[in-house]
């Protein structure tokens, strides 16, 4: 799969002296959904803003569909759509007028049929003559997406697209994003909702303190860095762990009523059968058991706050 965005040795230091990006290298593949995760102030929005032309890089290069974003900015920018984090809209404009404006601004001739399709896809057609200030926050978010899609971009940046929207709209957005991907649009999203990345992204990139900490396929990341947990509800509570089981990563919880076995999904396949056999040898009986896998959120927190990295 070819790369549609190629970022090399990108640095950004603002006039205030704050360094937002440090030697960032990143490739986004054509047609994928890429989630960029990172805590507040990690550099996500700066990175997106540089690619879209809103912020100047201090050094480094960015190619969008093979076009340098500075030297060949017209070709690069015409391929990119951006939905920024803030709900920045022209309050007094109508929905249809603002979407038509965006299409023209990006150099495309008027195409009422296409604008109608975009508005219908986003359930905005009935609101097309309404002023933006009369819309709800969720509807304004849809208008922002419609504006970003107005010039038929191949690459779409969604900066925190579902921040502050209700569950229904979030589900609608996810469906929209999947629909766009099916039409061949590459989608790069930043999000605080880790389950969003887990649910939608083909690959995940984690950025912290302006550095890319890790880029990995979402499933592989969870397989590699995820942890598994086996929780046994004991028939009789234990005061302490038997000495014979001290070589295993076991702990007692719930006042000795639960025995918990945690293992690394990558390094340790977790010999559950062996554990159960040894418990039987020790005469420890259990009434119930359940297993769970750590979420992407836990992996993310581990990466960002504990500095854990994938090999």
């Amino acid at each position: 799969m070819s790369n549609v965005i190629q970022i090399e040795r990108l640095n950004k230091t603002y006039d205030s002296g704050f360094t937002a990006l440090r030697d960032v290298n990143l490739s986004i593949r054509k047609g994928e959904i890429f989630a960029l995760l990172g805590p507040n102030g990690a550099g996500k929005t700066t990175l997106i803003s540089i690619v879209c032309g809103i912020v100047n890089a201090s050094s480094g290069t960015v190619l969008a569909d093979g076009h340098d974003i500075r030297r060949d900015y017209r070709a690069a920018r015409s391929r990119i759509g951006l939905v920024p984090q803030e709900l920045s809209t022209d309050a007094f404009e109508t929905v249809q007028a603002t979407v038509t404006f965006s299409r023209g601004l990006f150099g495309k001739p008027a195409n009422p049929a296409y604008v109608e399709r975009v508005l219908r896809d986003l359930s905005l057609w009935d609101k097309r003559k309404d002023k933006i200030m009369a819309l709800s926050g969720g509807m304004k978010r849809r208008v922002m997406i419609a504006k970003a899609l107005a010039h038929e971009p191949d690459i779409l940046f969604l900066d925190e697209p579902t921040a502050g929207v209700d569950v229904e709209l979030r589900r609608d957005m996810w469906n929209l994003v999947r629909g766009l991907r099916e039409r061949g649009v590459t989608i790069i999203l930043t999000t605080h909702y880790i389950e969003e990345a887990e649910e939608m992204a083909d690959r995940v990139g984690v950025i912290n303190h302006g550095e890319i900490v890790l880029v990995e396929r979402t499933r592989e990341l969870m397989d590699k860095l995820g942890r598994k947990e086996l929780r046994l509800q004991l028939a009789e509570p234990l005061a302490t762990l038997p000495e014979a089981l001290s070589d295993l990563p076991l702990s007692l919880e719930a006042e000795g009523q639960e025995l918990v076995y945690r293992f690394d999904a990558r390094h340790d396949q977790g010999d559950v059968a062996g554990l159960l056999r040894r418990l039987d040898e020790q005469g420890i009986a259990f009434r119930d058991l359940r297993t769970r896998e750590s979420s992407l959120e836990e992996i993310f927190v581990d990466l960002v706050h504990n500095g854990r990295k994938g090999d």
Partner: protein, 253 residues
């Protein structure tokens, strides 16, 4: 060239004018007409002629210029400041549109509005004062040149301003006083020699003088000097805008 982009900005800005007709058109026409009523019809009839021109007619070019400068600056500065204020500037900055095209859209619309207003005010003033236009093409040329030049200046103010106070401060504190002291209500030659020399440092003198020449064929300073000073100011503004886009000053971090 991204002509669709230029048209989109131009139409967007003009749409704002039509949406706010009372504020954009009616208000400046009415307030300037009051000058004609007071200084032209009421007081003007009791004042002596200047350079053989009735006082009411004499002040018309200066008053049109006063409105033209203020409206050009205010339209252009508001046009670029509002997207910065609301955050919608992100769209213009991320669009495949060159600095020249952005300026053409914003400044073109601001200058168009000012020219329309100038012509409307001229037509309205005819209701109160009788005047002639000796050089109509030159008059329209001066009107357009001044509107474009001061719209460029307004664009700079709009980029520079980081609050509504700054947006207003230059038109109110500098441009209006310079216009009042730039020969709008009197001929520079009526001043004592010292103040006449001082007045020549006021750039508005050259605008009013050149514009008045297009009406009555008389001017405080030579026509060529008026034209040269206006073009020079336009080039300075254009140069500053070029610098703004090159460095990203208050537009692009």
């Amino acid at each position: 060239m991204n002509l669709h982009g230029v048209k989109a900005i131009y139409r967007f800005e003009m749409a704002r004018t039509w949406r706010t007709l009372l504020q954009s058109i009616a208000s400046p026409v009415i307030s300037t007409s009051l000058y004609f009523v007071v200084f032209g019809s009421a007081i003007g009839s009791r004042m002596v002629e200047i350079d053989g021109i009735s006082y009411g007619a004499f002040i018309i070019p200066g008053l049109v210029m006063l409105m033209l400068l203020n409206e050009s600056i205010s339209n252009a500065s508001f046009g670029i400041y509002m997207p910065k204020f609301t955050g919608t500037i992100y769209e213009v900055l991320s669009a495949p549109i060159s600095p020249l095209e952005i300026v053409l859209g914003y400044v073109g619309a601001a200058a168009s509005k000012s020219i329309i207003l100038g012509l409307l005010i001229l037509a309205t003033s005819r209701l109160f004062v009788d005047y002639q236009i000796a050089h109509p093409f030159a008059m329209v040329g001066f009107l357009a040149l001044t509107a474009v030049t001061f719209s460029l200046f307004g664009f700079i103010i709009g980029v520079w301003a980081d609050g509504f106070e700054k947006l207003q401060i230059i038109p109110m504190m500098i441009v209006t006083p310079l216009t009042f002291l730039g020969g709008t209500f009197y001929s520079v030659s009526m001043l004592p020699p010292f103040w006449e020399t001082v007045t020549l440092f006021n750039p508005v003198v050259y605008l009013v003088s050149g514009f008045r020449w297009s009406f009555y064929g008389v001017a405080d300073v030579h026509l060529g000097v008026s034209l040269g000073m206006t073009v020079l100011f336009m080039l300075v503004c254009a140069g500053l805008i070029g610098w703004i886009f090159k460095t990203g000053y208050r537009l692009r971090d």
